[in-house]
């Protein structure tokens, strides 16, 4: 179809579209008057031909049942744009609005125009806004129902991303929820963790992820523990925030130049580590006003940093370099606080302000007396906060942003439970402190359903039972056709050791199987040592060479001195990493044996371990299960450097529970194996079926992710195989690992002999 604007500009209709529309509007005097006024304004800024194209666009929108309110919204937007805009941008606004109006209705189109208009600066060229509106129009064409929810969260979204980011984020949403309108609405309203996560991803300019591994190590080296950082796209989060053991990191810092990112992130993470090391109790809010709370946080920041610099003086340089507030006489809270922060961090900082001088003196004295005495902080805050009141300097709690940029916003330093109910100002902060925390910290589920009541039901687990975080892995989204970085959290759960007697007894019973495995081992070992002859050095004399040498000597010739011989074992150089699925389904009984899938698998691993010890192949095994993407559970059974017997009590203690997030387990195993230098590195997964997890509805998602993980691992040079247990499991396995790399063991009771046999089949040339 030819766009209205082009058609109307055709020469045969000449410069008349404006007049035509004016005549048509004759019956609606009010509208006609507004049109006339708008036409006059446009005429003042553009050429006659362009003005007529414009009139054509107005007519086209009018014909799309726009209604006066929508037209009015555009006209008023125009008033503000006209001094600076271009004709194409102007026409683009009209045509995008028409598309919106046709697909999503006049009311939604009007909201869109108004939302965009609210972000216009007078005289701006409007090209960016036209682009945004065009993207919204594109969304309206594909999913009209999604526009209104998006407009609900419009400012948050547009704050986070530019136009191309917006377009990409919308495409993500449509890909994630092609059919389910309810969940799609939740996505576009940002009421969905995945939506925020995608937004953070698309905002992406300066990302934390590239610094994560390095900062994890710095923190471990300097403080002996590792930081747990979670990146969050949320406009309310302008600084990092401490939330329990977590550090929430804004997806986007406004004003962080890329060149400063490595130091700023380092400063932020190490500052948070100082709190974890030295802020031993959280401060009671009680009746403290927001200004005092802000001061407590500021002083506590200085205290913990100073404590750290006593051991690590270089950190003072790191943090000090990020204080930029110059000395001045300004007496506003933002300025005073930024200068006080700088003065406390840098003794050489000279600022003439009396209040700052007093605060510094009080702090220095108290710190010198007993730096570990955290209670001096609220005391000083009370005194100097009172002084601010006397000076009548107002504090804008909502607009206050902690300086410098690397410091946490302080909300995590307080115990809000003890807030005085009369203390209304502080209560507001408390709500903010709780807001993100609840969502991100306890849910942590990817495809968070729209309704909170429907939250994926994670199996209850005791807080203290939470495993230690060992890695974040990406996950592949088949609809996005992209990896979602840091999507799953892998945690370590040391094995509960069980009594080994039953397992040993079963090992003893399996004598027949062991004999067969033994034979295999002997064959595998049979790659004979080769003899390397005529060497300068070696274990034995090379008799032939020695004889020749003797002859040479007799003949008074120079003998060839290379008369030794060495044995060289052309050693097998194979390492095996085995991943054992211990999800709930492995509790299923195995026909006729009184055993379960898991207990049979455990026996198999024990047999394999014993055999491998005989062979000398390095071997490690981990068990895995998962309880949502925030809790992929790894239980080490045997490390490469342990003897295989060490695995026995752990195998005996395994309990089936939770689900199977196969891709995550594969990435974990691949990471462990990939760092080892061996000729062949074999990754074997023993599982009883398709992957599944509580926070994933589409089985395809995890299957595709597993495929992707397999491809990645192969890309790293690993050989990846699946041992699929039970009927039809091999089909599921083949879909992910490929048919040739999947070994179905239909009768689970046969696993013990099959597993070792498989291994040799795979690795013995």
């Amino acid at each position: 179809m030819v766009p209205a604007s082009l058609r109307l500009s055709a020469p045969d209709e000449g410069a008349h579209s404006g007049d035509v529309l004016a005549r048509r509007l004759a019956g609606r005097p009010e509208l006609a008057a507004r049109f006339a006024a708008a036409r006059l304004l446009v005429a003042r800024h553009v050429e006659v031909a362009d003005a007529d194209m414009w009139a054509g666009s107005v007519a086209a929108l009018y014909d799309a049942n726009a209604g006066p309110a929508l037209l009015e919204a555009l006209w008023s937007l125009e008033t503000r744009l006209l001094p600076g805009t271009s004709v194409p941008a102007l026409l683009a606004l009209w045509s995008a609005t028409r598309t919106l109006c046709r697909h999503a209705g006049a009311a939604v189109a009007r909201r869109a125009v108004e939302a965009v208009a609210a972000r216009v600066h007078y005289g701006e060229d409007g090209a960016h806004l036209a682009a945004v509106l065009r993207i919204l129009a594109g969304l309206a064409e594909r999913a009209a129902d999604a526009v209104a929810p998006l407009l609900d969260a419009f400012d948050d979204i547009v704050d986070a991303v530019d136009a191309s980011g917006l377009e990409a984020w919308i495409a993500d949403g449509l890909a994630l929820h092609p059919a389910d309108r309810r969940r799609r609405a939740a996505y576009f309203r940002l009421a969905d963790a995945a939506a925020r996560q995608r937004l953070a991803e698309r905002a992406g300019a300066i990302r934390y992820a590239p610094h994560e591994e390095r900062l994890r190590k710095v923190t471990r080296a300097l403080f002996g523990f590792e930081p747990e950082v979670r990146v969050i796209a949320d406009r309310g989060l302008r600084r990092t925030r401490l939330a329990g053991g977590l550090l929430l990191m804004p997806a986007r810092f406004t004003d962080l130049p890329a060149a400063e990112a490595p130091t700023t992130f380092e400063a932020a993470v190490l500052h948070a580590a100082c709190h974890r090391a030295f802020t031993t109790t959280r401060f009671a809010v009680g009746r403290m006003k927001p200004v005092q709370l802000a001061l407590v946080a500021l002083l506590e920041d200085a205290r913990v940093e100073r404590l750290a610099t006593r051991r690590y003086p270089g950190l003072a340089r790191l943090w000090g370099g990020l204080h930029h507030a110059p000395a001045s006489r300004i007496q506003t809270i933002p300025s005073l606080f930024a200068r006080l922060a700088r003065g406390l961090a840098d003794p050489a900082f000279a600022d003439g302000d009396g209040w700052i001088a007093k605060a510094r003196r009080l702090f220095d004295d108290a710190f010198a007396a007993d730096p570990a005495q955290q209670s001096f902080v609220p005391e000083i805050a009370r005194v100097i906060g009172h002084d601010l009141g006397q000076l009548r300097i107002p504090f804008d709690a909502k607009g206050y942003v902690v300086q410098p940029l690397y410091r946490d916003d302080g909300l995590g330093l307080f115990d809000w439970a003890e807030t005085d109910p009369e203390n209304a100002d502080a209560l507001e902060l408390m709500v903010e402190a709780a807001r993100i925390r609840e969502e991100e910290v306890d849910a942590g589920s990817s495809d968070a359903p729209a309704e909170p009541g429907e939250r994926a039901r994670a199996q209850p687990r005791a807080e203290d039972e939470e495993g230690t975080l060992i890695a974040l892995h990406p996950e592949w989204h088949h609809r996005l056709r992209a990896e979602q970085p840091d999507h799953v959290t892998v945690r370590l759960y040391p094995a509960a050791e069980g009594a080994t007697d039953p397992l040993r007894a079963r090992l003893a019973v399996a004598r027949g199987v062991r004999a067969r495995i033994d034979a295999l081992v002997r064959r595998a070992r049979l790659d004979r040592p080769t003899r390397l002859r005529r060497r300068m050095q070696g274990d034995d004399l090379d008799l032939e060479a020695a004889q020749e040498a003797m002859q040479a000597l007799r003949l008074r010739e120079m003998p060839d001195p290379r008369i030794h011989m060495a044995k060289h074992r052309q050693g097998r150089d194979v390492a095996l990493m085995l991943l054992l699925d211990i999800s709930q389904s492995t509790a299923d009984p195995v026909a006729g044996e009184g055993e379960t899938v898991l207990s049979t698998a455990a026996l198999s691993v024990a047999l394999l371990g014993e055999a491998l010890a005989g062979l000398g192949d390095p071997f490690a095994a981990d068990a895995f299960a998962s309880n949502g993407r925030a809790d992929v559970r790894i239980t080490p059974l045997k490390n490469f450097d342990e003897r295989w017997e060490a695995a026995l009590p752990r195998l005996a203690g395994l309990q089936p529970a939770y689900s199977t997030r196969l891709g995550a387990a594969l990435r974990h195993g691949a990471a462990r194996l990939a760092s080892r230098a061996h000729h062949r590195r074999v990754l074997v997964v023993v599982t009883d079926g398709e992957p599944s997890d509580i926070d994933v509805e589409e089985s395809e998602y995890l299957i595709e992710d597993a495929k992707h993980a397999v491809a990645r691992a192969r890309g790293q040079g690993l050989d990846v195989f699946c041992v699929a247990l039970g009927e039809a499991a091999d089909k599921a396995g083949a879909a992910m690992f490929g048919r040739r790399n999947t070994f179905g063991v239909t009768r689970v009771s046969e696993l013990p002999q099959r597993l070792a046999a498989l291994y040799y089949q795979l690795t013995v040339r």
């Binding site: 710095v218 080296a221 051991r311 690590y312 003086p313 270089g314 274990d539 192949d617 490469f640 450097d641």
Partner: protein, 265 residues
């Protein structure tokens, strides 16, 4: 045969960390073979040198490595103008003439090599030279010491249980910070406050053992850094050469170590 070349004339500087001197002397008195366990560069070798000096025994040290064969320890036939002659290996020399024999980093040697020491470590105290058809009875002063780094062990490189059982063990760790500072200052010839910073860097790096690094920076590493500093190289640069770049090639781990160095200075 003269073992003079193996005698230690001057006292090697050694700052005791715990009871190790007394324990060594007792084991020596009973000729119970000793295993010194601990991470690399923590002073095991220096300690043995010191003890040899103290006990006035010659010391024959063998640094074990992967390609070492039993012949490298016990000896082999060599060819000369008249045919072949037997040449004792370092272990045999120590056994015959009564020296302390120190097999450094014994796990590095292959297991079939290390079994030759077994008959020396029980009541028999003999060394069979199969190729010569000779059984060498150990000199009364012969004493066997091995070192072993448990941090390194892997399934392929581990001491056989049967080998371990033949030794009494003394555990070594890096000296306590103050002691280590004094050692580094003394050995490298640098001021105590600089040595203190180096030790702090090392102890932070040791937190990364098993997580990016096999082991953290050793005392030996620190002494090397100190020696460069004593020659006028900047501290950060010296640490970069001897610690950061030497310990790892991984980008993130290097970045982390650089931050650690800078935090400590």
């Amino acid at each position: 045969m003269n073992l003079d070349q193996y005698a230690i004339a001057e006292e090697p500087f050694y700052a005791p960390v715990a009871e190790e001197v007394v324990l060594f002397e007792a084991a020596y008195a009973e000729r119970i073979p000793l295993m010194l366990k601990g991470p690399t560069g923590c002073g095991k070798t220096r300690f043995v040198e010191h003890m040899a000096w103290r006990l006035k025994r010659p010391l024959i040290t063998v640094a074990c490595h992967e390609d070492m064969t039993a012949s490298d320890l016990v000896g082999r036939y060599l060819l000369d103008a008249d045919g072949t002659v037997w040449r004792d290996g370092p272990l045999t020399e120590a056994v015959r003439h009564g020296a302390i024999c120190y097999l450094d980093e014994i796990v590095e040697a292959r297991q079939d090599t290390t079994v030759v020491i077994h008959p020396l470590t029980d009541e028999r105290r003999v060394l069979p030279l199969d190729k010569r058809n000779e059984l060498v009875a150990a000199h009364p002063d012969f004493f066997l010491v091995i070192s072993y780094n448990p941090g390194y062990q892997s399934a392929v490189k581990d001491l056989k249980e049967s080998t371990k059982q033949r030794f009494a063990a003394i555990d070594f760790t890096y000296a306590h910070a103050d002691r280590e500072t004094a050692i580094v200052a003394q050995e490298a010839g640098i001021a105590l406050d600089i040595a203190e910073k180096l030790v702090r860097i090392a102890s932070a790096s040791r937190n990364l053992g098993g997580r990016g690094l096999d082991e953290g920076a050793s005392t030996r590493t620190l002494i090397r850094a100190g020696k460069l500093i004593a020659r006028g190289i900047g501290i950060a640069q010296a640490c970069d050469m001897t610690i950061v770049s030497a310990l790892t090639d991984d980008r993130d781990t290097r970045g982390a170590l650089r931050s650690v160095v800078s935090a400590c200075l």
